[in-house]
Symmetry: D2
Subunit: 388 residues, 4 copies
């Protein structure tokens, strides 16, 4: 039977694309070498800078976020370089795997998947590296698999505390435009992001925001690269063009999305996500379930990962919820596969969409006979009404 009404796409990205953006990307494609395109391109290239909060280069790729991970590495590093990474969860692990495939020596500070990267551990690790062999520190800002946020400014400070010259590479694919982020102020060298989360676009665009120091590293980085090479981008980007055919229609959408974010105000965007995270956690706790992120203050405003009661299948619960309530929830990944599910509350979202989402979870828990207490929806409603 046809599912009726709106589908609730409550995975932690892609997030639902607003009508304004869908209409923007459905415009007819234009000549990517013509004068009209230059305006579109300049608007996009300048616009994304306001989102990353940088006055340095931001490069836009027609690719998934995975490509932008690779781009960050191949533009700055050489085969055999040591890089320090932090095991915040599944996506940090994937990034490490990519580094290894690229013949980097990726070293992991192990984590329990229940919090962000720890600045103290990073500082201690770097302090050991007297020879400064470690060429980059790679951290996931918002770990999409766990719903934990790493303290980027504090990690910057940790690196500086020991005077380590490593580049600082941050993945905020799922954090950008949802959580506070300051590429320049926080001294990040390469920020990696994508289109399909806080930017409210379909997947297909990815980004590297790049510091002067990283641009300099590009000159000597020995990893091979062609598609991802920043050096080829700089020239054409100056006038709004790209070295190869860009994804024009997603750029139309990007410009619209950036306008929408500024109409709301970035600080309001951030506060909204925080508030929805808080309400969601209140619901989870009222159900008697456990939020995967166990470090207070590091819970994400983008998504909430929830641990199932012992012995219960998260995937079965998600399938029931999809079938009966027309809502997609995120699955647990690798280490927490089938043991956790994830609630996305990011992008173009509001209080009533959250209430629908949480009602769907509560009714889904019932439908799947998952032991839990009632009252999550009410608890979340209390939080929403307590604030702002």
């Amino acid at each position: 039977m046809r599912q009726t009404g709106q589908h609730f796409l409550q995975i932690p990205g892609p997030s639902p694309v607003p009508g304004r953006v869908l209409r923007a990307i459905s415009q007819q494609v234009i000549d990517h070498r013509g004068p009209e395109f230059a305006k579109v391109g300049m608007q996009a290239l300048n616009g994304v800078k306001t989102i990353f909060k940088t006055e340095q280069n931001v490069f836009i790729y027609p690719s998934s976020g995975t490509g932008a991970w690779e781009a960050a590495l191949v533009n700055t590093l050489s085969p055999g370089d040591r890089v320090l990474m932090f095991e915040t969860g599944h996506f940090a692990t994937l990034w490490k795997k990519i580094a290894e495939q690229l013949q980097l020596k990726a070293e992991f500070i192990e984590g329990d998947w229940r919090g962000g990267a720890d600045p103290d551990l990073i500082e201690a690790y770097l302090a050991e590296d007297k020879a400064h062999e470690i060429k980059a520190v790679c951290v996931v800002h918002n770990e999409t698999s766990t719903g934990s946020v790493s303290p980027i400014a504090a990690i910057r400070k940790a690196i500086d505390n020991v005077g380590h010259p490593a580049l600082f590479l941050v993945d905020t694919i799922s954090g950008l435009a949802s959580l506070e982020y300051n590429h320049d102020e926080w001294g990040v060298d390469v920020t990696v992001s994508g289109s399909q989360k806080g930017l409210m676009l379909p997947p297909g665009l990815s980004f590297n925001a790049v510091s002067e120091k990283a641009m300099a590293a590009n000159k000597t980085a020995g990893l091979s690269r062609t598609y991802w090479d920043w050096a080829d981008m700089v020239g054409p980007n100056k006038t709004g063009y790209f070295p190869y055919t860009p994804n024009t229609n997603l750029l139309f959408g990007l410009n619209e999305a950036i306008d929408m974010l500024h109409e709301e105000g970035l600080d309001n965007v951030f506060a909204r996500h925080q508030r929805h995270g808080k309400a969601t956690r209140a619901a989870v706790r009222a159900w008697g379930l456990e939020v995967l992120c166990s470090k207070q203050g590091q819970e994400s405003g983008v998504l909430t990962a929830v641990l199932m009661p012992e012995g219960q299948s998260a995937d079965r619960f998600r399938a029931k919820t999809l079938e009966h309530y027309n809502m997609s929830l995120g699955s647990g990944l690798s280490k927490v596969a089938d043991r956790a599910f994830r609630i996305g509350h990011l992008g173009d979202f509001n209080d009533l969409m959250l209430m629908a989402t949480l009602a769907g979870v509560e009714m889904g828990l019932n439908k799947a006979d998952i032991p839990h207490k009632a009252g999550g929806v009410s608890a979340a409603m209390d939080v929403l009404q307590g604030g702002s």
Copy 2:
């Protein structure tokens, strides 16, 4: 500040238009006299018959529902004709006003706006009319201003009980494709409807389903008409065309909407609306508020009108809800202006959209400091989980 996320358009029509329909109406217009149009037109003309459940004519107007009210009258009646109408609420009253403007003698059986039309009163009224001067009985099926449903089959029977030859004209503008409706089986002579409710389209199309008896009346009806004249429609309609330029893009949408209704199955559509009505009433009662429709069994599955506590402004409450929760609710109309509000739960709708809606009402009641009990959302959730 920009409202984020999806707007909840919970008025009793226009109902939110599904993406499939919006995309259908955004197709390029075509030649309304060319061969491709004939297919579109035939599909629409045949398709609507399956919705009205008729094998007789259905005429499609480029107009609002108001126009189809006028059409029903001017095609069948003559100046000075007596017509019997029933005061179910605001829209019955408007239809009466139109009848009067057309120089019909419209007679009202008064109602308290808290239920559907009463077959017994109609039967009694007609029994008095030994001379059969009353030429038409006009009833609103789903009274959009009150959320009450008139028992159309029973009214047909009431007319037959006294052997009265009056035409039976029914407005189901807001009932069609949401509530069970059987034009042929119920012996309705003219059914009036519109596009922007259960048919999930933007406003701009209206309909007259017409019995043989009504077609015969058209031949002698003395009211003047040009735009609305059925007689001009019959010929062109046979091959899928219209006597004047149709609203082609809404016909594209109509064909898509009819497909969607049949994919779900009309019986499922009806059951869904009933279930959502029931859950909504449970919420209203849990809040300690009163449902405007007081006749059990006549409460609408399309919308629920709610009476405010004494002395509280419904419009102020609605304004707060719109401002804080990005949800539009329907206003009380004329007799219950500012004293009632209306919750639409029709069209392309589902359980989670209803939960969002009711959470919005509950939070709106708080925001506007309307005295009420908590628990409406939970009560509705209980109903949704009890059934099907």
Copy 3:
């Protein structure tokens, strides 16, 4: 086999709807009684005034242009009133038929369908009416069936010359926003128009621009009316609302279309249509065919009707052209059925679209073995290159 590429919709309306407008009408419908709608409504109501060039009322109907014809009559006249009309072609004839159905005494100054209405004949006719029994003069500005334009300012002068008090009603359904038009300056009392021609919208909206004098006539006009009644519109329109559910999505499109017209500049719009008419006529003459409009200076910039050589079927030619060249041309209507075809060159149009159109006609003439000379395309190209 699937027709490839763009369909050329070269009928004299509906004209192809620009992508901007299609996207505008594909926005989600909104509450037609809410605050956001008021802005949309006010923009539309004020915007259309700039197109009709009036500071008086313009009423917007959810209907085809046919409805606006009826509206113009029923709002200003009483049963039995004499009205003077001019037989410019098929649409003038249809309007007369409507007048007659409404029990007006419609009198025709006969025409040969090859030019606009003649001011001298109108003046002479009115001069005879010493008793001022004629209550309205009805003229079609751009006769869509023939491609002839009536000199509206001159007809106004003709009426004034004999001091006749009749109302002046003008149909510019297919002229508005393509040909110069000045409702106020030309002293028109009611201007009738529609959405699907120069306004570049799908069909479904129609208009009455109304002088003070016509508004006064509305108070005493005896024809019955409900849907079309201006009196009910005035109040709600003041704040951007409508007395019944408007076609919201077409209003979104209307606002976009008006913006586009002003971005181009109305004078440029008019000049463009004139130029394309001129080029088209050059093509027709180069083919050795005859332009239906035989009055120099009255040929329309909106469309060109072309007479077929004796004994040749215009409809067969059009069918071949549609089949082989994916282009729809307008048919000859009633008196010139199958004897003429019509080339639309209106709305969102440009030089290359015209060249495609004329190439399609020239190749279609060949395909259908219609005797003609080659060279129409070249002749038109010469005209296009001669001017600005």
Copy 4:
């Protein structure tokens, strides 16, 4: 001043995206790990095979065509490998540059940019390579910079004639779905393509069709790769999924585009492009200009590159044409920069669009005072009418 009417995007890609495809990509994004996606993914993965005419793997990347060039190389080759390439024009040169950046030894058979790759020269070159050090032969099928087509089947035969085991890599980014192409039958090992040409999509998807032999090479290929690695794709693709977030909305469009191609029939698609190429060349010659491709039988049905008369600027001509006729033409690239322009006649195209295009060129030549003869439009029209 606003450009009116349709923009003619007559560059050799991106080609204009049909409305059906634009509407498909404007659907709401879905969960790329959910059951509904699997259907979309399987349809896309199976669908593209019918276009490449292969029963082997086709991998779909969220990237520009440039990325798929890189993918073809990094999946099959090792640093220092010799690869033989043929200088058909600008894009062959770019591909060579990429090969070199990847530390391959790319060897060019020089060409004059006026024809496709020469099988005899390739055969002779390979015959010299007794040691079989050359690991791949890379050829551009449709050279987008020149409008010349390489004889792929003949090149396959040339390779076989000398029993050379090199992989055969073919770029048909701008040829696929416009020119006949048979990945399996022609024994191509990797075919590279993109979305924005014959597939009628916006840019953003690229493809590698891959033979068993190439899949085997992937196992030992020493070039580093992560994003482009086929090995990671095979598993998820089996059930319709992808190893990282795909460009869901373009996949919606891809499925629609493939349907459209099969509705027309691939052979009809190919014949149409051939016919339009022939008509375009007739126009060029009638203008007294020279077609860049000088090898008879190798002229492309996708685009026609035209040499300007000595001393005339192609870019100035293109700018004038854009300004006055709302048409984008392709620029000459590198060796023929400003000396040639390119007319795209690919994708969702038809006779009248071609006539518009050629009229735009002819009028643009006049506007820019480029010495030429009149009559190109007529000559093309003659060709179009001679055939089919």
